[in-house]
């Protein structure tokens, strides 16, 4: 079953900046209901990113717990002025997942395996950067990619569904992919 209905499980749609700010305040106040809402919105994203790096469901579950308890315990670590909560969580997920991967290999102890691990981290890095780029790209671009790629709409249908001109849909698809292509360079590195 696919959780979330968009790229990298990021299908929750537009989040206005106000939502990020209010959520941060609610978490800071220690509102248990806010924690539930945060989980519902972002657990598929965090889990999906972690699973991509770790390729192990149990390990990905571990990252899920770590990320949400970190945010709950340190609500001030997120500054709404510096970006979307979504991007912040994506960055945390990547960091915790890579840390777990390294740790698992160090525990295994073999030198050869450590080399393999670094290679695997490099290999998943482009993919993880791409995930990060998709989660933090402007919503109009992400929505266009979601319709064209995941829902197999052609660009005219995409335009109709987004309520924009066909020309604008073509522009968004091209720009979205151009952004995504930077994952192959260092430019899109997670914070």
């Amino acid at each position: 079953m696919a959780h979330g209905n968009g790229p990298q499980g990021a299908g929750e749609g537009t989040v206005p900046p106000r939502w990020n700010r209010k959520m941060q305040q609610r978490l800071a106040r220690g509102e248990a209901a806010a924690l539930g809402e945060l989980y519902d919105r972002f657990a598929p994203l965090v889990y999906g990113l972690a699973l991509r790096v770790l390729e192990n469901e149990e390990e990905a579950n571990g990252v899920l717990s770590e990320v949400f308890s970190y945010v709950w315990q340190h609500p001030d670590a997120y500054d709404p002025k510096r970006g979307q909560l979504r991007s912040f969580l994506a960055g945390l997920a990547h960091k915790h997942a890579v840390r777990r991967l390294r740790w698992a290999v160090i525990q295994a102890g073999a030198a050869g395996e450590i080399e393999d691990c670094e290679e695997r981290i490099r290999a998943v890095s482009a993919a993880a950067r791409a995930d990060y780029i998709v989660t933090s790209m402007p919503e109009p671009l992400r929505a266009a990619l979601e319709l064209a790629y995941f829902k197999r709409r052609d660009y005219r249908e995409t335009a109709a569904e987004l309520g924009v001109s066909a020309e604008e849909a073509r522009r968004r698809l091209r720009l979205g992919l151009q952004l995504l292509a930077t994952a192959h360079t260092e430019a899109g590195r997670p914070a």
């Binding site: 079953m1 499980g9 809402e37 899920l64 949400f68 790629y149 522009r171």
Partner: protein, 392 residues
């Protein structure tokens, strides 16, 4: 050349759509012809095609629904919440989250699936065909009774002119019909809509329902224990304290999520044993009053003995087996009588899931897989009272 209306600028603008295979066939052909003799475009086309490979659907992402409560509990032990969730709202929080996840998982086509709502009316099975969106609208409309009790906006009154004043609270069925009519979500009406409009309608219903569930949970948390006993009026003289109304709605949410899951052929597991126990307990607590009501309207046998309030009376032993189960002792002659094992004249034993199906009106008293012992009349009265707890 088949360039026709395609010049370099236009072809360049098509590269993103081309890489995503989202062009018309003649455009695809024009772009591909262009790439053989335009190096900058060919370069970009290659880069964008590579970028598409970085997109990946999470189609096998199987996030275990049981993780939610585990992760949240872990968080809450690491940092005590300043504003906790009252215990009685937790099953509602869990069940609405599970249904929400199911709705996110469902494909677009599945939103149009017909869903059968089933309940018992006047001791006879009743049913109504609707769409998934109709089910969500039903939950939205009835949950609105809790919103009213908490002073939140009534989802039904959303479009009503202010001059009309507050809507008189009607029964869950009337509210549902009214909302379906307002929103245009009858099954026939849904089927007549273009796919795109149906999808939009479903999305709107889903969002309104989810927003209201969040508002209810949040408000209950802010009000703390103070609102637990606030009366929620279900119409027809039926009133539940808010804490029980939250449980009742958690139960309804699960049952209807199950209806939806069956309609679209998705797996759906029961609530946690702890939450199911609370739901069964609510039904067991409502049964004595229900029995008394049925006796008054001649639908249950008259009391054998007149029992003074607070004294022991004839008892039915309800034994619910499996996780979430337990033993309940239901007074048969008067809700005010004291029930206990020593006065048991009848014994009904069934699985938790079967009891819930019965209380939801999804199985008939005759067909319910239940062990029946003792006074046959008492057993039948009990089973019919249980099924009569169901409503649309």
């Amino acid at each position: 050349m088949i360039m026709g209306p395609y010049d370099h600028r236009r072809l360049k603008s098509l590269l993103g759509a081309w890489a995503l295979a989202a062009c018309a066939p003649e455009e695809t052909a024009a772009v591909e012809a262009h790439l053989t003799d335009c190096a900058p475009c060919a370069d970009e086309a290659l880069r964008l095609r590579d970028a598409v490979r970085l997109l990946h659907p999470q189609d096998n992402l199987d996030l275990d629904p049981a993780l939610r409560s585990r992760v949240l509990e872990l968080c809450l032990t690491r940092r005590m919440p300043g504003i906790p969730m009252p215990g009685w709202s937790v099953p509602y929080d869990a069940e609405t989250a599970r249904l929400d996840a199911l709705l996110h998982d469902m494909g677009e086509a599945e939103w149009g699936a017909p869903v059968q709502l089933a309940w018992y009316d006047d001791d006879r099975p009743a049913a109504r065909e609707t769409s998934v969106a109709g089910v969500i609208g039903h939950l939205l409309a009835v949950d609105g009774l809790l919103a009213l009790a908490l002073g939140l906006p009534d989802p039904l009154a959303a479009d009503a002119p202010a001059a009309e004043g507050p809507r008189t609270v009607s029964s869950p069925a009337e509210r549902t019909e009214a909302l379906w009519q307002e929103a245009g979500s009858s099954y026939a009406e849904q089927q007549s809509l273009a796919r795109q409009l149906r999808r939009r309608h479903a999305g709107t219903m889903h969002r309104h329902w989810r927003d209201q569930t969040y508002a209810l949970i949040r408000t209950a948390g802010f009000a703390g224990g103070g609102v637990a006993d606030l009366p929620v009026r279900y119409g027809g003289g039926v009133t539940l304290p808010l804490r029980d109304a939250f449980l009742d709605r958690a139960f309804a949410c699960w049952i209807h999520a199950w209806d939806v899951a069956e309609a679209v052929d998705y797996p759906y597991v029961p609530p946690t044993p702890e939450h199911m126990h609370l739901m069964i307990d609510l039904a067991a607590r409502l049964l004595p009053e229900t029995l008394a009501h049925r006796r008054r309207s001649g639908r249950a046998s008259p009391p054998r003995t007149l029992v003074a309030a607070g004294t022991p009376g004839r008892t039915l032993h309800l034994e619910v087996e499996g996780k979430g189960g337990g033993n309940w002792y239901i007074p048969l002659d008067s809700p005010a009588a004291v029930a206990g094992p020593e006065r048991a004249v009848a014994h009904v034993a069934l699985e938790g899931l079967e009891f819930c199906r019965l209380a939801a009106g999804h199985v008939s008293p005759e067909d319910a897989a239940a062990g029946r012992d003792g006074d046959r009349e008492a057993v039948d009265d009990f089973l019919y009272a249980a099924v009569s707890l169901s409503r649309m």
